[in-house]
């Protein structure tokens, strides 16, 4: 993963094992919750927990491949980019993730 810009800092959120495979956990934050996803091959991705369609909680969707399907109206969101898959158009904000020794770190912007 890229090193965060100097205005961001790495925060430890949980271990990889805390997230179910093909599932997610929610990181609560006043500035908007973040959904942290784990794929079948143990890659971890983080997106703002707000679907670009009508703000559905992406964390509650079904994860498959590197995609999550929003639980409200089934948009498919690419976990690597946050982009909605065609034909839908929109983007959920993506957060850089680093996994070290089984620990998951998120890069969050400092003020």
């Amino acid at each position: 993963m890229n090193a965060p810009l100097n205005t961001e800092q790495w925060l430890r959120v949980c271990t990889v094992e805390d997230i179910p495979r093909l599932g997610s956990r929610v990181v609560e934050r006043d500035a908007g919750n973040i959904a942290v996803f784990r794929t079948a091959s143990d890659s971890v991705f983080a997106l703002l927990d707000r679907c670009p369609h009508k703000a559905g909680p992406l964390s509650q969707g079904i994860v498959h491949g590197e995609t999550v399907t929003c639980p409200l109206h089934s948009w498919n969101i690419d976990l690597t980019s946050g982009e909605a898959r065609a034909p839908d158009v929109g983007c959920a904000r993506r957060y850089p993730v680093r996994v070290e020794n089984g620990e998951v770190f998120l890069a969050l912007a400092s003020p």
């Binding site: 925060l11 956990r25 500035a31 079904i62 498959h64 089934s74 498919n76 034909p87």
Partner: protein, 815 residues
């Protein structure tokens, strides 16, 4: 005790339908004997015309093969005509002397063709058109002779004429009226019909009265002579000038007849042991000559023969169609109009289309359609319902499509729609959007359209319409969606194939399925994973592992997600029965967790709406109640009425029956949601008629109905069978649901499943085959046995992380 004896005279459509209805209501009540004058088992008389036209063969139109009689223990006397009824000794005697005693007698002798009383009517080559014998005579004559004359331009006559023409004869139709089908069509439509039949090579002589049939020395007919002196050559004369109820037998037995055997609303004759149905009957002064009303009579009559005593026949409104391939006409009700009626008429003779609607007191009372009959069924429905039509009047002529009353199938509605008309109500997609997407993105299938526009991706009720739009837009390059579609884009296999592979190759995990069936994706997608998960756990209970990550959020979390991401919680309330302590706990929970809305659901329980996900487990704990499974493709509720415990009409304890069923089915997963209801009497306060399984108590037991649905498209449940005890209700219900669980495709409701396999198949597996029923029932109990209540399990710690968010407490996190 010996069974009472039921004797049926007349082995035709009405009599045998009554027997069939009776057998479903009360299979073992009677020892049944049937007399039939014809030497054939019951066949579909209606389809004689396609047989004559060479479109079908006799074997195709047999309704009840001889084996059916044997299987149902019915004694059949074929080729024996009953000559006498002895009402004192209660026996019938056939023309060959066969005698049978009866306790109940059913007369279903049909009608006799009316033969014009003209000289020469007994010549060779003069026949009527009533049975297979007549039909075969016509087919044989057509091979050898040239000239046919059909007397009578009604439905039967025209069908006969059309058939004879197709068989190569020169056919002249002689008709007394001013125009053809003068009982079914008005003059304009009648003339249109005549033109198009003339184009097929038929000749017509209207307003001609037959005076005499002329014969040769061999006694064969050679010509028809009319009152005005004209003559036409004829090697075959078919008389189709009407029918008369066949009442000779009844009259000779002293039963009251008046243009038909007179019957009550219970289809009972003046002798209470004797019932009558079919064309031989006169009910409230009307004798019917079409099968639809006869089948209604059969249903009611069977109900009384089965000693249920609740049916009433109140007469029928009729509609007609002519079965000549390629000619569409439809008429119903009072299509002629008269005093106090208004007509709306659309007439396009060049285009071969004519429609007339007759309106009286703001109701549709008649319809006559020629050329375009697509809306016949809709008009017929308006007519029967007697609906006020002021609001429809401007558009009614243009059919149902113009009203925007979108049904399930698109039919030819799509073409008539404006670009701004909404196609998909769920997703608010207009026709224009779909057409544009099809053209610009090169879409070919309904699936493409779903993906690109979301139309038809929710309830699916507009799928037919979308197919129509595709067809209209693409023309011939449209490919109909194959009946057996692939589950999703991850595979080419359809649901049936996936189910089969899981069963036959003992696949018990998602990975095994994806590997074995060579899925294109490593772990499926949001469409196929839930389906595969269901197939795995339903096929291999206690063996396959239920994968929560392959379940839609509601089933994973065991609560119903709302549009703001909160959840609704519905605790189980078996049979809709609760008590003060439960209500108090519900109230306390609502206060403690600031539940914004508390609502009574349609399934007779209480919904707490707006609960935060992280509060779910503590809410469940404080409630101390079990999950109502109100969120899953699973058993939902068993709705009940108060039944015999309190209601003055109740015949059985419907509430307890509902509670027992809900207890039995707790935690059951299924292809789609499953709802049940139990009513204490046929007043049916629990709405059993629109449930997957509806139970209605009657004096002598319980009636079971299946395949009802109150959802997107209302479907009335169909009668499955009647049982006596509560244990049987459980066994039959359980067996039916297990069959559905084992065989239906994911997301098919029971109604869809039954539509695919047919109700007869269900009856065969669940009603007729006792051993199979028991086996199904046991498999259901086996797969439900030991399943934990999901809420209790989660209170005990299962999938804990699911409900606990990670909180960021680090100082660096901005507010």
């Amino acid at each position: 005790m010996k069974k009472p004896k039921l004797v049926v005279v007349g082995n035709g459509m009405a009599g045998i339908r009554t027997v069939e209805e009776l057998l479903t209501l009360a299979p073992d009540l009677y020892e049944i004997t049937v007399f039939g004058a014809e030497p054939h088992p019951n066949y579909n008389r209606i389809l004689l015309s396609p047989v004559l036209a060479g479109e079908q063969e006799f074997k195709d139109i047999v309704l009840n093969p001889l084996s059916w009689y044997a299987e149902n223990g019915i004694r059949l006397h074929l080729g024996k005509s009953v000559a006498r009824i002895d009402r004192h000794r209660r026996t019938v005697v056939a023309n060959d002397g066969t005698e049978e005693p009866y306790d109940r007698l059913l007369l279903a002798t049909g009608s006799m063709p009316f033969i014009l009383p003209v000289p020469g009517k007994d010549l060779k080559g003069v026949i009527s058109y009533r049975d297979i014998y007549d039909t075969e005579t016509m087919i044989a004559t057509a091979k050898a002779k040239k000239h046919a004359v059909v007397i009578g331009g009604g439905l039967l006559g025209l069908e006969a004429a059309n058939g004879l023409k197709i068989r190569g004869m020169d056919v002249t139709v002689v008709h007394l009226g001013e125009w053809l089908l003068d009982k079914q069509l008005d003059v304009t439509a009648g003339q249109l019909l005549q033109t198009s039949l003339e184009e097929r090579g038929l000749s017509f002589l209207l307003q001609k009265q037959t005076a005499e049939l002329v014969g040769n020395d061999a006694g064969e007919v050679t010509a028809v002579r009319f009152k005005d002196g004209d003559e036409v050559a004829a090697d075959l004369v078919v008389m189709a000038v009407g029918i008369r109820p066949n009442t000779a037998l009844a009259e000779s037995a002293g039963l009251h007849c008046n243009r038909g055997i007179v019957v009550s609303d219970a289809l009972q004759t003046f002798d209470p042991r004797i019932y009558a149905v079919g064309e031989c009957v006169s009910h409230r002064g009307v004798a019917y000559g079409l099968v639809a009303p006869l089948f209604e009579q059969a249903k009611v009559c069977a109900n009384h023969l089965a000693q249920l005593g609740i049916g009433q026949y109140k007469g029928s409104v009729l509609s007609t169609k002519l079965k000549v391939t390629g000619i569409d006409l439809f008429s119903a009700g009072d299509f002629m109009g008269g005093e106090g009626t208004e007509d709306i008429v659309l007439s396009d003779p060049a285009g071969g289309v004519y429609k007339k609607l007759v309106i009286k007191d703001d109701q549709l009372v008649g319809a006559c359609l020629y050329g375009d009959t697509a809306d016949g069924a809709w008009y017929f429905k308006l007519l029967r319902e007697g609906r006020k039509i002021a609001d429809l009047r401007d558009h009614i002529m243009f059919g149902e499509s113009a009203i925007g009353d979108a049904g399930v199938q698109g039919q030819s509605r799509a073409g008539a729609m404006q670009d701004s008309d909404e196609v998909c109500g769920c997703n608010g997609v207009c026709k224009g959007t779909i057409v544009k997407a099809i053209k610009e993105k090169g879409l070919f299938t309904v699936d493409d359209v779903k993906k690109h526009t979301k139309a038809a991706s929710s309830c699916g009720s507009c799928t037919g319409l979308v197919e129509q739009i595709l067809m209209n837009t693409l023309g011939s390059s449209f490919q109909e969606t194959p009946k057996t579609k692939a589950v999703c884009g991850c595979t080419d296999h359809n649901h049936g194939e996936v189910r089969k592979a899981i069963r036959e190759h003992h696949l018990t995990s998602h990975k095994a399925v994806y590997d074995f069936l060579e899925w294109r994706t490593p772990n499926g997608c949001a469409t196929c994973r839930p389906a595969v998960n269901y197939y795995l756990i339903s096929t291999w209970p206690k063996e396959a592992v239920d994968d929560p990550q392959s379940r839609f959020v509601n089933e994973r979390v065991h609560a119903n997600i709302q549009k703001d991401g909160t959840f609704s919680v519905i605790p189980q309330m078996k049979g809709g029965v609760t008590n003060s302590s439960e209500l108090r706990r519900i109230a306390d929970v609502a206060d403690k967790y600031h539940v914004p809305m508390v609502k009574v659901t349609g399934g007779q329980r209480i919904d707490l709406l707006g609960v935060k996900k992280e509060d779910l487990v503590s809410v469940w704990k404080d409630l101390g109640m079990q999950s109502g499974h109100a969120y899953g493709k699973s058993i939902r509720t068993v709705k009940t009425c108060v039944g015999s415990e309190f209601c003055r009409f109740g015949t059985q304890n419907s509430t307890q029956m509902g509670i027992d069923l809900e207890t039995m089915l707790a935690n059951m997963w299924s292809p789609h949601k499953v709802k049940l209801a139990v009513s204490g009497c046929p007043r049916n306060c629990a709405e059993s008629g629109i449930k997957d399984v509806g139970v209605i108590a009657v004096d002598s037991g319980w009636e079971l109905y299946v395949g009802g649905n109150g959802g997107i498209k209302t479907e009335v449940a169909q009668f499955l069978c009647k049982v006596k005890t509560g244990d049987e209700v459980k066994e039959y219900t359980g067996a039916f649901l297990q069959l559905y669980r084992e065989e239906a495709y994911y997301l098919d409701r029971t109604v869809h499943y039954i539509a695919r396999v047919g109700l007869d198949y269900i009856k065969q597996k669940v009603v007729d085959d006792a051993a199979n029923r028991k086996a199904l029932y046991e498999r259901l109990l086996y797969s439900l046995e030991g399943l934990p209540d999901p809420w209790a399990a989660r209170i005990a710690g299962v999938q804990k992380n699911e409900y606990i968010p990670i909180r960021l407490v680090t100082a660096g996190e901005p507010a």
